[in-house]
């Protein structure tokens, strides 16, 4: 019973920790992609209209 109890607690903490890490990684990746899209679009506009 104690082993099951400890396992459940470990599982719960692990799920939350994995969630924290994955949310952070996903947000960082999204931000990087957003900046890249902006820079690409900006370059296109500069080529089209100049400075």
């Amino acid at each position: 019973m104690n082993a099951i109890h400890a396992g459940l607690w470990t599982l719960a903490f692990s799920v939350v920790a994995v969630g924290l890490i994955s949310v952070h990684r996903q947000n960082t990746r999204q931000m990087r992609e957003q900046i890249q899209r902006f820079e690409t679009r900006w370059q296109i506009l500069e080529e089209r209209y100049g400075d």
Binding site: V15, A17, G19, L20, V23, H24, N27, R37, Y49
Partner: protein, 256 residues
């Protein structure tokens, strides 16, 4: 991890935390219950005889209820640990939610900033093109080729500029705020309407309608009106405009 997964994970964690809290509180309540039982038994033994005598007469052994009480005290200690664990889990879950919310808010802010920057840059470029086209139209009118060249150049404007309504609105605000007199033109009025015609995408932006305003005796008033229509995958936009040369011999145009 999408928002649905985040919300589902957080809900599961919150339910788990609530269950752990419930179990811990039940353990603590059970400990309180047995503490009250022992106190009641002690009070009852006082009324019968002295506790020392009662204890001695029971063979110097702890009453069974006291043992059970101590067992529940041990359960209460375990419940306290569960309470701490559940609190920590709840804090981590809250941190997860808070992190997701803060990042989402920050990303929305940055996306809006990027969008505004790109729109402004595009508006500046498109407005320069528009002014150049209007200048060319002005030259054509000055050369006395109003009717034919106006159609040609207005069609050119409609095909080349290809603005969307958000950019036009931002351009209008920009013109009103910055007063782009340096470009010799001023945006004063620009009407727009949305129509949800099932036009094919290949129809694209084109000059839908235009007419030269004429005086009662048939002379051109140096004004032209028309509309641009273009289509996005979601809706079709139409912008009505009027062009006028307020001073006939100046090279400046006012876009009404």
């Amino acid at each position: 991890m999408g928002p649905l997964v985040t919300i589902t994970l957080a809900t599961v964690m919150l339910v788990a935390c609530a269950g752990a809290f419930r179990g811990a509180l039940r353990s603590l309540c059970a400990a309180d219950h047995w503490r009250r039982e022992v106190r009641r038994a002690a009070e009852a033994s006082k009324t019968r005889s002295s506790p020392i005598l009662g204890w001695a007469s029971s063979g110097c052994q702890m009453p069974r209820r006291v043992w059970r009480f101590e067992g529940k005290i041990a359960g209460g200690e375990r419940g306290s640990l569960e309470l701490w664990g559940a609190g920590l889990l709840l804090a981590l879950t809250s941190l997860l939610l808070l992190q997701a919310l803060i990042w989402r808010h920050r990303q929305a802010q940055i996306r809006e900033h990027f969008h505004q920057s790109l729109c402004l840059k595009e508006v500046v470029g498109e407005t320069r093109r528009l002014i150049a086209d209007v200048g060319a139209l002005n030259q054509a009118i000055m050369a006395g080729e109003v009717s034919t060249w106006a159609l040609t150049f207005l069609g050119g404007i409609g095909l080349v500029v290809r603005p969307n309504w958000e950019q036009v609105k931002k351009g209008l605000q920009l013109a009103q705020e910055a007063r782009w007199s340096a470009y010799g033109a001023q945006l004063v009025r620009l009407r727009s309407s949305r129509c949800r015609l099932p036009l094919p995408v290949w129809a694209g932006p084109y000059l839908r309608d235009w007419r030269m305003q004429r005086t009662p005796d048939g002379r051109a008033k140096n004004r032209a009106s028309g509309s641009w229509m273009w289509q996005t995958p979601l809706t079709t936009y139409r912008v009505h405009f009027e062009l006028a040369a307020p001073q006939a011999r100046t090279a400046r145009w006012v876009v009404l």
